[in-house]
Symmetry: D2
């Protein structure tokens, strides 16, 4: 039997028990998270610097990565209007121009977010239409799947049915928002696209040290349907929250609640009052729209307490 300890590197050791205990102690309650995302890397595998990525003007890659995609890939991201978070063939057709003209960046990737930043979900036919559009033009379809699990369960699809089967070329598969400790994966459905990805990952500083602590989590997520259970629960809580909020006369749900997010217009003066107790983001300052997200550990009681409190603050 091989000894369990090597002398290859001090990098190969376990995590010290005191560090692990610290992790466990930290594992309670909600704390503001950030986002260390693999989207940029996926784009880098698909595009050269003179290419363009077409995406929604509200997409995470366009608004929330502090310019990482532009910095890392050198590409231009072209922001397109997407009223409920979804790109359409019509929208992208309009932006598909300057082809072969050396003064223009060349569109190479369409990136969609599923479920979208507005909590809506692309229908299968909508994704298939975009996939046909790109594949007819030697382009790629990238899916930012930070919440792909929520979208898949919302439509009763397996992960494969919700991605590969619809024509997605590359998927950023999110684990973090579905219960993992900062773990995301990039899934290439066409092996030739992944050929040099090892190097892109390392050079992009995304090769984790002590990787095993990440891979075992991804394995757990894909075991015993944990991904599905977590996502189903989060979606159900969002539906419950939607119902409760609808009872409040002064509020209005502004986007379809397809997955685990609820977006609502709220009397402006109530926002600060609610934020005194609950931390959340104002999605659109000018229109007084807020964003409320549910997760795998949101309970029915959490939702009811929250909705009651919102109702009181709104003064219904």
């Amino acid at each position: 039997m091989k000894p369990s300890r090597s002398f290859a590197s001090d990098n190969n050791a376990v995590v010290h028990p005191e560090a692990l205990e610290a992790i466990e102690r930290a594992n309670q309650g909600h704390v503001v998270g950030y986002g260390d995302d693999p989207y940029t890397l996926s784009l880098q595998a698909l595009a050269r610097p003179y290419h363009a990525v077409l995406c929604s003007e509200m997409s995470h890659i366009y608004t929330d990565e502090c310019g990482a995609p532009e910095k890392l890939t050198g590409c231009k991201l072209i922001p397109l209007a997407a009223p409920i978070g979804k790109l359409t063939v019509e929208t992208v057709s309009h932006a598909y121009r300057g082809i072969g003209d050396q003064h223009h960046v060349q569109p190479k990737v369409i990136s969609i977010t599923q479920s979208t930043e507005m909590g809506t979900v692309y229908r299968p036919a909508e994704i298939e239409a975009l996939a046909r559009f790109v594949h007819d033009r030697d382009m790629f379809l990238h899916m930012d799947g930070a919440r792909i699990s929520n979208a898949a369960v919302a439509q009763g699809l397996t992960l494969r049915q919700a991605t590969l089967d619809l024509g997605v070329d590359v998927l950023s598969f999110g684990g973090t928002k579905n219960g993992l400790m900062g773990v995301e994966a990039v899934v290439f459905f066409r092996p030739e696209l992944a050929r040099d990805f090892l190097f892109t990952r390392k050079q992009g500083m995304q090769l984790a040290s002590k990787m095993r602590y990440l891979s075992v989590q991804m394995e757990a997520l894909l075991t015993n349907d944990l991904w599905r259970r977590n996502a189903e629960h989060a979606n159900r809580m969002a539906k419950l929250l939607e119902q409760e909020i609808k009872k409040i006369r002064q509020m209005k749900i502004v986007y379809p609640v397809d997955a685990n997010g609820v977006f609502a217009r709220i009397p402006r003066e109530a926002i600060a009052k609610i934020q005194e107790r609950y931390f959340f983001y104002v999605w659109n300052e000018e229109e007084s729209v807020v964003r409320w997200m549910c997760s795998f550990d949101t309970t029915e009681e959490d939702v009811r307490q929250f909705a009651t409190f919102v109702g009181e603050m709104v003064g219904s």
Copy 2:
């Protein structure tokens, strides 16, 4: 009292218990690690693209980051000979040229590794001399401190005495090789250098999601001298290994064992035999030199068993 759950983001939830269990189950034995290091980021905070970074030709940033520093910063890294891993004022003086000449990259940073990639440790006076050199020339001194704890305890210094007090401007402080789960910190000793680092970190895709699981570990490392205990133990095991290896007639220790690494010349034919049982790296193929690292969880028994096995394979 504030409720423990917010509705701000599904990113703010805890880690699912099944994921945490998976982490705990993974926490045994040695497994090949990689390296997701903050060095590149530190350099980006110090240098513009037309600057150069002077470093040892064996330094981790030059050889083991798949070109991340060049890609991310745009800078040239100038590799300098460093026989036992240490840069000297003489070596860097030689490379300090082309100043003000627009055809030449402009030296701006000297990066040293402490303890070095060869397991040696810079003496305080050696670092002070380099610090004077850079500060006389409007340059910066960066320390790759993946193993700074090992270096500090080797000389009976506190972390501050081993860095700031010697003139280091920016430190990449390593936790991973000293018992943490992929946690490193960048420490700026001159606050003005850190001014925009938040953005550099995010754009460099190094802002971790669910950051709390990282910060609590770092806190644990700096509590109750865990950093010191771990490093002292690893160093002691390296000394023990050195003693044991010295008893093997056909082997020769090639660099001073100042910290937690042992580099030894070994009969070429023994390498594969030992690797059948123990995983480790050949440091220099041509000279048949191997590298053996000790860590906080290496035991005396591990060392003795290993040395005995090496001795048998070498045929002493």
Copy 3:
């Protein structure tokens, strides 16, 4: 007396007479030009990769540089609506957000084009208002002055009155569109911004070999008011063209003719007919708007012949 020939470099020699003759032979008639512009470099001097540049969605830097600004600077360019080519304080205020938020690129530069891509000219007060906006926020005002000469003469201003005196921080001063052979200059009105520009220029591959052939042209442009004479003539020809086009009932001038460009809506079917004889660009396919530019060597006869031909093709 110093000999006229050195032995320093074969790069220091003159241009061979046969090459110079070839240049002279090429110096007649109009030929499709391209654009090798210094804008990207100016932006690089002003912004770090996590910064953003606010610009018109029709601006040259956003649409016609094949993504060079993003690739070279790493910055995001944020395209803003600008109906007649001009940014306003109101427009940029709307885009000035996410300040201090590490997920967002940080606005650092406003780039305006003078005269604009639509042939309009910013009034002094409009520029001053933008300058106040940026300087109140630790930002910079960049002017893409490919046609600054046309804008200055249109308002009876000197070059200094049209730039520095209005609060412009950095000017890309165009010579090429005003009669030079591919010569542009970057003018820093605050010397500290230019400190490292020598290196940025060289690393950006914009340091011309045999530079003297460029600098003597710039000198000529600024001698005997050549810049003014050329621009005044081009503007006058545009005014003449506007008058002539206005006589054609089926056509409509769509933007104020402030400088040397005329933009007109034209019956769609006439475009191809006119292009059989004259090369020009369709500015807006959907709205059937064409762009016609005048230059220092356009003659009154050119304009009248052209307008007559257009009138015939339109069938007035």
Copy 4:
């Protein structure tokens, strides 16, 4: 007949006569040149950011481009020792390692300079051997041909025999050092490598405005053997200079004078005296070696006067 003037762009006009006169007036005597070179662009067409370029440590791309290749391509340039300016199969073999290891940049291009920075010329068999080495390993052979004309005529070869026929994949063909006004070309011998070069060129800010003034010069260089006549003359002058210098007892020619450069060791105290009259570069300060280059307009009298003056200053 088409009118000679279009209304497409003010960019399409000719160069103003006063600018052209300025150019002609500037066309006499030697003036310090710089270098705006196409090498970086060639490399970008061949390599992705995680690739490495193997080159001589004295090569122009490594030492004289202010880091442009690293900045633009993201690649690491690996400097190799090359005593008389030439890489050998043995040297590059040594640096060909880490293949498939994600921590290491992957060697993809070997770049050679012909004639070399030391004035020597690779023999055909030497280039063929390097070409075999790269093509056996899915790599490319790039030739920095700033002085390829001098190398070709030195060996009695046509340009094709000196490049394509030896296995070169991409050539940076220099016109500037051989009599043109800042004109260089990138020649792809395998068309598939050039597929996207239009975009790379524009994004790399190397698409010249009023391009015709460049292309006519290149045409002139390739007409009536101008390239050959110029290069032959420059080489002959270097040979003459070598002869004259050899007569000076205290001096020593240090590299074979294969092309148009002469490198000589000279008594240190004579350098400043000669530089009072003639501008030139000290190649190696420590060894007191100077570099003298001849060009198409160097005359026999220039050489003899110079050698005489050198002799006097050296005090022979």
